[in-house]
């Protein structure tokens, strides 16, 4: 009896798996999203610059802008969007089981994630890296001068390992002061408990902005690790990957072409530049391959803005920005020596 029951349940499970496999291939993500009427975009628990809540309960940030861009491309309305906040432990599962359509939450693009987790990473929207914060009056100008320094770091992160490696390679003999919570880490640094703080440069810039006297601190120029932060989608639906990828590229391309949310209408009406006309759907049929309407990129730029605008607003010196200068960094356009580069849209 027992054995027969087992067989039966095994049969039920395999049928269910088969059914789910067929149903997955039957309907594309774009169809599902269109049918639902809104995009489900996954971010994490609030993180300054990338995805924050304001007092009214609205999301804003650089990664939220990516979500909005995809929603604007599909629906012509950036607000047809449900932002899901998922803990970092559950982020990839929530994408894999179809709970989210898109993951846009400061995930570092690594090879093992790309190849083993069933994810497709998209072009990075922020190149982060680990750095050091010091007091300006310490007279330090380079991380290589941190010989024998006491450095505050949060434990259990790659930050700690990266710093140990860096110290060993450069014979710096750094001593770690480790903390569980970055708030306590920063408080200790402010009270003089250590000479420097190490962490991802973007988050440190945000933290410095929250110090009582931000002008007295600075981030040293050295970057000791690579953290390309990128959005990701489920492996397997290439059409959907294309759509998200080119929505992101459209924002970079718009910046290259000088199209902003303010001048997009004028550009659409008057521009003689063929690239601009193609991007905004005046000429050519770029939208066909994506299965969207002609004005998909126009909607992104009009409602969300180009990459540079969003950088200024959330990462730069905008009212809601956390004040990370863009000039001379990897997040600059390729024409200015950075890494932001969109393949030609033609």
């Amino acid at each position: 009896m027992k054995i027969r029951k087992l067989h039966l349940s095994a049969a039920v499970i395999s049928v269910a798996v088969l059914a789910s496999a067929t149903s997955a291939s039957a309907q594309s993500t774009l169809d599902i999203v269109k049918e639902r009427g809104h995009l489900r975009c996954q971010v994490g628990t609030p993180s300054a610059g990338f995805y924050n809540l304001n007092a009214k309960g609205e999301w804003y940030g650089l990664d939220v802008a990516t979500c909005q861009a995809v929603a604007a491309a599909i629906f012509g309305d950036k607000n047809k969007l449900e932002i899901q906040s998922v803990s970092s432990q559950a982020r990839f599962t929530a994408l894999a089981n179809g709970e989210s359509d898109l993951l846009s939450r400061t995930a570092t693009w690594t090879m093992s994630r790309d190849t083993e987790l069933g994810l497709d990473f998209l072009p990075p929207n922020f190149y982060d890296g680990q750095g050091f914060t010091v007091r300006k009056d310490s007279g330090l100008t380079s991380a290589l001068q941190l010989k024998g320094a006491k450095i505050c770091v949060t434990t259990g992160t790659t930050n700690e390992l990266n710093m140990t490696d860096y110290s060993r390679v450069n014979n710096l003999n750094i001593s770690n002061v480790t903390f569980e919570d970055w708030n306590v880490r920063d408080d200790t640094y402010l009270k003089g408990g250590c000479d420097a703080v190490t962490g991802d440069k973007s988050s440190m810039a945000g933290n410095i902005a929250s110090f009582p006297n931000p002008g007295e601190h600075m981030i040293l120029p050295e970057t000791i690790s690579k953290e390309p932060l990128a959005a990701a989608v489920r492996h397997g639906d290439n059409k959907w990957t294309d759509l998200v990828r080119w929505s992101i590229f459209a924002m970079v391309n718009a910046e290259e072409l000088g199209i902003t949310s303010a001048n997009v209408d004028e550009m659409k009406a008057n521009s003689k530049n063929v690239s601009v006309r193609r991007l905004l759907g005046v000429e050519g049929n770029l939208h066909n391959g994506l299965g969207l309407t002609k004005d998909w990129a126009y909607n992104i730029i009009k409602q969300v803005g180009n990459y540079g605008e969003n950088y200024e607003a959330y990462m730069g010196d905008g009212e809601l920005g956390i004040g990370i200068p863009r000039k001379g960094t990897t997040n600059e356009l390729w024409t200015n020596g950075g890494l932001m580069y969109s393949p030609p849209m033609r």
């Binding site: 789910s20 009214k56 998922v86 803990s87 929250s210 110090f211």
Partner: protein, 451 residues
């Protein structure tokens, strides 16, 4: 040669050391040199702490500002309460649309209205009122909070809930004024108090039916805007999760405890397995299982609302803890009670319902309320899996660029809120204990008879 006094010597006042402040100080604070040193050190520590807290929390604190930067401009040593004040709506309601907050407030008001009769001494049929709170109120509140189109099932449940609420309220008002129940009042009002029982029943059923139909038509005429559960948050979400957890933990726990003591081997083994499984796993693991593993086992496209998954997990988990509390209470009941109940011909359910449980539950009140308080505090774990319960919102304050880095003040405020709620719960449990006269009072049978 004895001196005999005719009148009684007047009582002298107690010695100065017993009644004056200095005497009290001498006896309690400075009784020996070692104690004096201890007292002075303690007083100094208290002074430092209170002084710091006072300066940080009140004297140097900033109450009105538009951003943390402005707070710093006014004072760098004090708390920046302005951020907490600015986020107050989010702390209480999460991301719920600001125009729809009245629905949450109304929901809260309704549950109070529903439960007030339970605390009024002259109202009867409390069991019915209590059951209707547990089984009908959630539908009404659930619709109020989530909104959208009502299916037929929801229409019926909402109607039933409204009828029940009106009945409850009328019943308690009439009980308070006239001292009779609502059915009696209706029968008298229609002048049928002498009619046969059957007629009275038909009359009551007719009234019930008419009010049902009327309310059904009325409620189908309005509809509230749909609000996705992803927008629920703050204290509201904490109260929803813990409220459902509390309401279901006790019934679930009683069933599991009875199952564990059952003579039927199958039921016993299943209950034991269930209880031990959930008790040996941390709540956070159960939550992760429910939210991340469970969907993987389901066919693709089957997306169960994450909030529902969390609530189910919380309910199951707490039912298991409650089961052990209930079992402890059951074991304290002497065997004679069971035998006595059996000897007057009561069956299993009657024995349990009428004899054993009422006694056992009284003994368990402190433990039950203790579990409830624990449950209420445990629900903050849902913020780890990405729901914006009160802790999630309090942590989000310091990440908002306007209030960047403001992490202590929101948590202090949250601690105060939790203290208020939990302290109120434990005070209420003391009140219940006294009311049911368990605890020490139980020792004196005379008093029990009087009450």
């Amino acid at each position: 040669m004895a001196i005999v006094k005719a009148e009684k010597t007047p009582a002298r006042a107690a010695p100065l050391s017993e009644r004056s402040l200095i005497g009290w100080l001498h006896k309690n604070i400075f009784s020996s040199s070692f104690n004096t040193i201890l007292s002075i050190v303690t007083l100094y520590v208290i002074y430092i702490t209170v002084n710091e807290v006072w300066h940080w929390g009140f004297a140097d604190a900033v109450w009105f500002a538009d951003s943390r930067r402005q707070c710093f401009e006014i004072s760098t040593d004090g708390a920046c309460w302005a951020g907490v004040i600015g986020w107050m709506d989010s702390i209480f309601y999460g991301r719920y649309p600001r125009d729809e907050l009245w629905r949450i407030n109304l929901g809260g008001l309704l549950v109070v209205l529903w439960m007030v009769p339970l605390w009024l001494p002259r109202v009867k049929a409390k069991v019915f009122i209590g059951l209707s709170t547990v089984f009908l109120y959630p539908f009404l509140a659930g619709y109020l909070f989530s909104g959208g189109g009502k299916g037929v099932f929801m229409q019926v449940m909402v109607t039933l809930a409204i009828v029940c609420l009106m009945g409850n309220t009328l019943h308690s008002v009439i009980s308070l004024i006239k001292g009779i129940s609502l059915p009696e009042f209706l029968i008298r009002a229609f002048g049928k108090s002498t009619a046969p029982e059957k007629t009275q029943h038909y009359l009551l059923l007719g009234i019930l039916f008419c009010s049902f139909v009327a309310v059904y038509y009325w409620q189908s005429s309005w509809q509230v805007e749909a609000v996705s559960w992803t927008k629920w948050g703050g204290l509201f979400l904490t109260l929803v999760v813990s409220g459902i957890g509390i309401a279901s933990a006790l019934p679930g726990g009683i069933i599991l405890a009875l199952g564990r003591r059952s003579n039927l081997p199958f039921i016993r083994v299943v209950s034991i397995g269930f209880i031990e499984l959930f008790r040996s796993v941390p709540l956070i693991t159960v939550l992760f299982m429910a939210t991340t593993m469970f969907p993987l086992f389901m066919p693709e496209g089957f997306v169960l609302n994450k909030l529902v998954q969390v609530i189910i997990a919380v309910c199951l988990f707490n039912a298991c803890y409650m089961a052990e509390t209930v079992r402890a209470g059951l074991q304290a009941i002497p065997k004679g009670q069971f035998e006595g109940a059996h000897s007057i011909g009561l069956g299993y359910w009657q024995t349990m319902g009428a004899v054993i449980m009422p006694q056992a539950l009284k003994h368990m009140i402190p433990n039950i309320v203790g579990s409830f308080i624990g449950l209420f505090k445990d629900t903050t774990l849902v913020s780890i899996i990405g729901l914006f319960d009160i802790l999630g919102v309090l942590r989000a304050v310091g990440k908002d660029v306007t209030w960047l880095g403001l992490h202590i003040e929101p948590l202090v405020f949250g601690a105060l809120l939790f203290f208020l709620i939990c302290f109120a719960m434990s005070k209420y449990s003391r009140h219940l204990e006294v009311k049911f006269s368990t605890g020490l009072k139980n020792m004196t049978p005379n008093k029990r008879n009087k009450s």
